[in-house]
């Protein structure tokens, strides 16, 4: 960052460098000096933009919150039955995470560090699925389209599979799953999930 940057460009560069370091080492494992060194600037330059390391960490999280996944297109671009929408919103989510896997690493660190601010953010990022699955099963079960299952456990099952698929493909780069594209892996997990909740497809309406 030796060349002259506008304030906006400098702020963006700081956020990007800080995110990479937080992803590698967590909030507590990164010092302001280390971020400054990565950017080849003085710590005083960082403090001009962010009051503290914690404020910078929150700004990194907030920058992602502003760019949260939009599921509007996922909902509109196909049939509205439970399984079809679940597949499309899952694809939207995994595409977003795969494009920026640093956030998976930040999430891991946040859990270990017990950071409440980051914890809320990451929990909310998964909440879309939790709410959708909970509502879906509660509505489908009385219609005979899903079994009477324990809803919180079903939600946990889905999140666990999706999260693990993302770790395997984007963080661990696992050999075992190397030849399976992420979308196919996610689709297979969703097939298993739908079987587990006793889902029976009954399309009540056609494509949007």
């Amino acid at each position: 960052m030796s060349k002259r940057l506008s304030a906006g460009q400098r702020r963006a560069a700081i956020l990007q460098a800080a995110k990479a370091l937080f992803a590698e080492n967590g909030l507590h494992g990164v010092s302001v000096d280390a971020i400054a060194e990565r950017l080849n600037v003085s710590p005083a330059t960082l403090y001009k933009h962010f009051a503290s390391k914690e404020a910078l960490y929150e700004a990194v999280i907030n920058a992602t919150a502003c760019n949260r996944e939009s599921y509007v297109d996922a909902v509109l671009r196909g049939p509205s039955d439970f399984a079809s929408v679940l597949r499309r919103i899952a694809r939207t989510f995994v595409d977003s995470v795969a494009a920026d896997p640093d956030f998976l690493r930040m999430e891991m660190h946040a859990v270990l560090e017990g950071n409440p601010f980051a914890g809320r953010f990451f929990e909310n990022r998964w909440k879309h699925f939790a709410d959708y699955i909970e509502m879906g099963i509660r509505e489908l079960a009385p219609l005979g389209q899903a079994a009477t299952v324990d809803v919180p456990s079903a939600t946990l099952l889905f999140q666990g599979m999706l999260r693990e698929a993302l770790y395997a493909k984007c963080v661990y780069q696992s050999e075992q799953y190397r030849d399976i594209p992420l979308h196919r892996l996610v689709d297979r997990c969703i097939d298993l999930f739908l079987r587990a909740i006793g889902y029976r497809e009954r399309r009540l309406e056609g494509a949007a």
Partner: protein, 76 residues
């Protein structure tokens, strides 16, 4: 006279549920009729703008009332 023909209570719901419910509710309306949606998810503001842009329905109004967001959407 009511300014809307149907109402959708999407309070407490997170995306994609308000959009999914709105899609179903609007399917049941005739052209020119208005759906009122009340939501609490702040993300709904951007979501319903995108929803109307993509579906061609008209976003008649989008208002914040306390902790709630009220949208009026006219079916094309």
């Amino acid at each position: 006279m009511a300014e809307f023909d149907a109402e959708l209570d999407a309070r407490g719901l997170n995306c994609p549920l308000p959009i999914l419910r709105a899609k179903k509710s609007i399917n049941e309306l005739s052209s020119g009729q208005v759906l009122k949606i009340v939501a609490t998810d702040p993300g709904a503001v951007k979501d319903f703008e995108a929803f109307c842009k993509q579906t061609g329905n008209e976003l008649v109004s989008s208002k914040e009332q306390g902790s709630e967001f009220v949208f009026m959407i006219r079916k094309q």
